[in-house]
Structure formats: structure tokens, C-alpha cells
Amino acid sequence: MALIRNFEEAAYRAYERNELEGTIHASIGQEGVAVGVAAALRDSDKMLSHHRGHGHALAKGVNPKRLMAELFGRADGVCGGKGGSMHVADVKCGFLGSLAVVGSSIPLAVGVALAARRAQEDTVCVVFFGDGGVNQGVLYEAMNLAAIWKLGVVFVCENNAYAITTPAKKVTAGEGVQTRAQAFGLSALRVDGQDVEEVAGATRTLVAEARAGQPALLECLTYRFLGHSRSDPPHGRYRTREEVERWQGRDPLVVLAHEAGLDAEECVRLDAQAQAEVHEAIEFARASPRPTAEELAKDVWGDV
């Protein structure tokens, strides 16, 4: 979690120095979800993510240097600098991709689980989406397919309460995604996403079921401490300072430190270690060249 926190803070600063192009969606405040879910998976399990996916990638084992180089759009990036912040994949780690169209990675998870079934493997595929993705129709098409075909999919909703500026409560009918999932016959739990141990525990329960062919949903209540992207301040326009500060009081790193009984000295040491790793990643990314036009022309279709 300290690595994700430091990684995204450093990426954000690089963005503010105009070293990064495009935009950046930081998951600062939501690290407990990424780490808790990943902790419950085997290396051979697969993961799909969304536009706010740096934390998921790091938690699944993507090398921070190569991830940072990808954010910098450099040739040594994990996707050769062609995907960027919102389209990261590292197949060797089982991180099959973060995709930028809200909800569009969800049905891929059903296919990945179908492929596992065909190969007679008991690996599961976890797919993340936010409270914004909860109102995409394809989520329910995918839940239905996973349920009728009894596939090992774990749908993980990171409910950070806002789809950009729109409060989830304002645009989501009924009790929310947990009860919707139950209507499809999925096992469904709701947990405190700021508590990494609670997330990991619930994920272990659901992953075990998914391996046996019972698809599941986990809803994690969480909060992004920063704005949606750089153009959006942490508070002011649609969130009050009080609300943001209240959630910052439930920082997942602090919650874990407390639960694990870490003293201040140990926390400082872990943070410094993460900082050093991220510093190395930034230096690696800076030193990497941009992809050449020849490299950019590759991997379109067939032999080109």
C-alpha cells in the first residue's frame, strides 16, 4: 500500500511538472481495495481493471519501473508506451488490462473465466469497476452469463461514492450493487474498503466459491482522497471539506498500521523504502526513450 501511495503521489507530481501527458486518475485513498483483493489471489489468477488502475496493477505484481515508464509514454513501459495510464496490461503477472471505457472490461472477465474452464483450470478472474460502472447495462449481462455458465468471476465494485462529480446515491436505484448481484444468484458481500484485512478476508471467501463455479460480487466502500483527475480539486465543487477530511481520517495505511500494531518508526521505514523504489521508477522512466514511429506502427493487425 505504501508503494501504491508513493507511486501515485510521485506520478501526480510528475504530471504537475508536465513530465506526463494526457491525464491521470489517482486511487489514493483506495489502496486497501487493490491490496486486499490481490492478497487473496494466486499468481495464476487473472485481473482486469479500469481507468483508475495503477494500484491494481502494482498489487498484482506489475514492476513499478515499467509501469511508471508506461505512464511516461516511454518505450520501456510495460506496453511499450502505447497504452498509457488508462490502458495498462502485464500478461505475465495475470494483469490482463485496465480499460478506459467505464464497464467495458467487465464482460471480458466472463470470457477469461470461460477460457479457464475450457483449460480445466480453477483460476478465477477478478474484474474491478466503480460505482459509476454499476449503472452500465453490460455489468448485468455479464453477471447473468457468469451465473448461467457457473464461471469463476469475482466482480469487485470499488464504491468511492462519486462517478466523477455525480453522487452514486443520486443515480443508483434500490439498495445498490450488492442486492442487484444477489438477484442474479451471485454470492455478494459488502465490506469497509478502508480496512485491507477485511477486504482480503471477504475476497478469500468469495474467491474460494468462485473457484468452485459460484460467481461472486464484492462491494468495497471506499473514497478517493484526490479529485477524479487533475482538473478536479479534492473538495469544493461537489464534496465538502468536512466529508473529505472525515474519509482521510480513515486512511487505509493508517488503519492497517493500527491493526498490525506498527509503531511510527516502522511506518517511516516502510514509507522510505517505498519512496526509494518509486524514485528509482521515476529515474528509469525519464531515461527511457519514446517509442519510435516504427514501434508505434507495430501490433495493429496481422504482421504489421
Binding site: A89, V91, P107, G111, A115, V138, E141, V300, G302, D303
Partner: protein, 383 residues
């Protein structure tokens, strides 16, 4: 001129072409069957495919290969397409069937945003060996939403190949080819072809062995060079299905049958029409188009979508690019949604309108651009 193309000498193919041999959907079924027998990774997804509904292209395959491999889906085009992509990413070669053009739009986010881009965005880590079968054009008086032509849209998406077979044999050959590719192929079946028949020779054991070498999992760069070579060698070229000297029709799908029929009619008047059947619209074989254009000097580009933004504009540009100075005409659909009933014939080109367009092209005295819609013929000088 409006309507006059339908009142001329009748050379149009009858709606149920009286040919002998195997029906077009049966040829596709044979290709799927032979492909699935050879490659156990192939899985079919689609609505009512176990029953082979509606055109018989998957008939009996569930009986042969089981419902694990021939999977009926709910009416959920987006999730079915996404599921096909996710499975393909993991090396399960998947064929997703979408019966009618209008339904494809529900799966288009998955096809365009994911299938077409995952290999590129992942820097080549992911491959998506997906085949999407989709009906195109008018058929059965199903009207505006079932009957439409989307060739230009689909051809314009980087990362997709677009197959447009014109007869039963080529439907078989191109489907077998599509089932060996490691990147997504849209297999656009002109629905008017479903009632046509043609001779069919299925690939033998030798061809099957060669094809097996082309298979590969969707990971690693180790064998990438070998795969690339196989793909490059394997790319189907456009073909001259009828040689001629006076003018060329560049066409595909059912349009090729219209052009062949028009060529028979024109031959009785001493006009020798060359017919180039494209087979693929992406990648586009500009070389073969250019050769024929330089040979005849006059080219009619025939498509099924409207002239504005349609595939014929792209074909005309390809002719100009490869054989500058060629007299070019375009024949496409009217800029209308497809009306209900037999009125659909007013919208789409027919053999009669091909004959008339070729005559105008041959009569046209100077180099220039000719624009022709079905029943609404315009030619514009380049001056």
C-alpha cells in the same frame, strides 16, 4: 433518370438464384465444422446457434461438438462479444455470431474499443483470435434495422480485418482462413447470398496440417516472427473472377454476383467487363485493383452502402491512388434507411443498375468522376 434502371432489359439475378451446388450458409457451416474438427480451441457463441437458426450456418454443430463448444447465449450482444474477446485473449479461438447488421451495434463497443485495440494497447502482449459473423445488406423484407450495410465503418477501424465473401466456395475458404488468424476478423455475410448456391471443395488433410502450423497462443514474442510470416503469406488477395478489356467493376459479396450477371448482359452487346472480387475490404488489395484499372482505364466501384462516407469512396480513392487518370464511377445505395418489403430493391444496386452504370462509364468521353446511386445517376467532370 430516377427509377429507369429498374425498367430496362432484365438481367437481374432472380431472388433465389438457380444455381447448383451447396447453399452459401452450408458452406460456412462446413468451414466451421472442418475448422472445429482441426482446432479444438474453437468455440462458437451466439443466439440460437445450437438450433442453427436462422440461416443454417451452425446447424448440427452442437450435435457434433457439444454445447460446451457451441454455446447459445442470451440476447446480450455486448456481453457475448466481450466474453468472446476475453476467451480469445486467453487463446480460445472464438466465433461470435450476430445475425443481423442492426444487432451488431450493441456489441460494437466491445468490438471496436477492445477487440480491435487490445493487441496494440498492450504493446503486442495480447492477441484476440476472434471471428465475428454478421449479416449485411437487405434480405427477406426485414426493413430498416435488420437490413443495412456497414462495410465502410468496419473497414475504417484499425485492428480489424473485414472479409466479404461472394460465393459458397469463397465463404468456405475465407472462413477457414479467418479461423487461422490471431487477430480479429469480421466476417460480413451479404444476406442476399444466403439463397445462392455454388460448388464447394472442402480443404483436405494436407491443407489442414499446414493450417495447424499457423495456430498460436495469444502470448509471448518467441514465435511472433514465424506467425507473422505465416500471416503475410496467407493473406487472401483480390481475384479477377472474369477478365475483360473495356471496363472493370471492383466489387465484393453479393455485388460480385450482380457484376457477373451484368457482364453476361454487356457481353451480348460486345462490351467486355472485367470483374474484380475483393474478398477482403481490410486489408485492401490495392495492387490488384490498380492492375485491373490500368488494364481497362475505366472502373465502376460497386458497394451496398450510401455514396456519402461509403465503401465506394474508399475504393475510388484506391483506384485513383494506384492508377491515376482512370475514369471512375461509383454505384452504391440510396441515402435512405431500407424501406419495408420489396421496396428495398429501390435502395440497393441491381444487375440492371450495374449494366446502366457501366454503359454510362464507357460512353463518358473525358476523364472525370462519375457518381451514381441506384436509380439516381450523376456524373461530374473533374474540371
Amino acid at each position: 433518370m430516377r427509377g429507369s434502371f429498374f425498367e430496362g432489359e432484365g438481367v437481374a439475378l432472380s431472388r433465389e438464384a438457380a444455381q447448383s451446388g451447396v447453399l452459401f450458409p452450408e458452406a460456412i457451416r462446413c468451414a466451421l465444422e472442418d475448422g472445429m474438427a482441426q482446432d479444438e480451441s474453437i468455440v462458437l457463441l451466439g443466439q440460437d446457434i445450437a438450433a442453427g437458426f436462422p440461416f443454417g450456418a451452425t446447424r448440427d454443430l452442437a450435435g457434433v461438438f457439444g454445447e460446451e463448444r457451441v454455446r447459445d447465449t442470451p440476447i446480450s450482444e455486448a456481453a457475448s462479444m466481450g466474453c468472446g474477446i476475453g476467451a480469445a485473449m486467453m487463446g480460445v479461438r472464438t466465433v461470435v455470431e450476430v445475425d443481423f447488421a442492426g444487432f451488431l451495434l450493441l456489441g460494437l463497443d466491445q468490438l471496436v474499443n477492445n477487440a480491435a485495440k487490445l493487441r496494440y494497447m498492450s504493446g503486442g502482449q495480447l492477441r484476440v483470435p476472434l471471428v465475428v459473423r454478421v449479416g449485411q445488406g437487405p434480405f427477406g423484407a426485414f426493413a430498416a434495422q435488420h437490413s443495412q450495410a456497414q462495410h465502410a465503418w468496419l473497414a475504417s477501424v484499425p485492428g480489424l480485418a473485414l472479409c466479404v465473401p461472394s460465393d459458397a466456395q469463397d465463404a468456405y475458404t475465407l472462413m477457414r482462413w479467418a479461423l487461422r488468424q490471431n487477430d480479429p476478423v469480421v466476417f460480413a455475410e451479404d444476406m442476399r447470398s444466403y439463397r445462392t448456391k455454388g460448388a464447394l471443395v472442402r480443404e483436405g488433410a494436407e491443407a489442414s496440417e499446414a493450417a495447424a502450423e499457423g495456430e498460436a497462443a495469444a502470448e509471448g514474442e518467441g514465435s511472433a516472427e514465424g506467425e507473422a510470416a505465416a500471416e503475410a503469406e496467407d493473406l487472401p488477395r483480390a481475384r479477377v473472377v472474369r477478365p475483360g478489356r473495356d471496363a472493370t467493376v471492383v466489387c465484393f459479396g453479393f455485388g460480385t454476383l450482380l457484376a457477373l450477371s451484368a457482364a453476361d448482359e454487356l457481353a451480348t452487346h460486345g462490351i467486355e467487363l472485367e470483374v474484380v472480387d475483393l474478398r477482403l475490404l481490410s486489408p485492401l488489395d490495392e495492387h490488384t485493383i490498380g492492375e485491373s484499372a490500368r488494364h481497362t482505364g475505366r472502373v465502376l466501384c460497386l458497394g451496398e452502402d450510401p455514396l456519402l462516407g461509403g465503401i465506394t469512396a474508399m475504393l475510388a480513392a484506391a483506384v485513383d491512388h494506384t492508377a491515376h487518370g482512370t475514369l471512375i464511377a461509383r454505384l452504391g445505395a440510396r441515402h435512405w434507411p431500407t424501406p419495408f418489403g420489396s421496396s428495398e430493391e429501390l435502395v440497393y444496386p441491381s444487375a440492371d443498375s450495374v449494366v446502366a452504370a457501366v454503359r454510362r462509364l464507357i460512353e463518358w468521353p473525358n476523364a472525370g468522376q462519375a457518381e451514381i446511386t441506384n436509380g439516381d445517376f450523376q456524373m461530374a467532370s473533374m474540371q
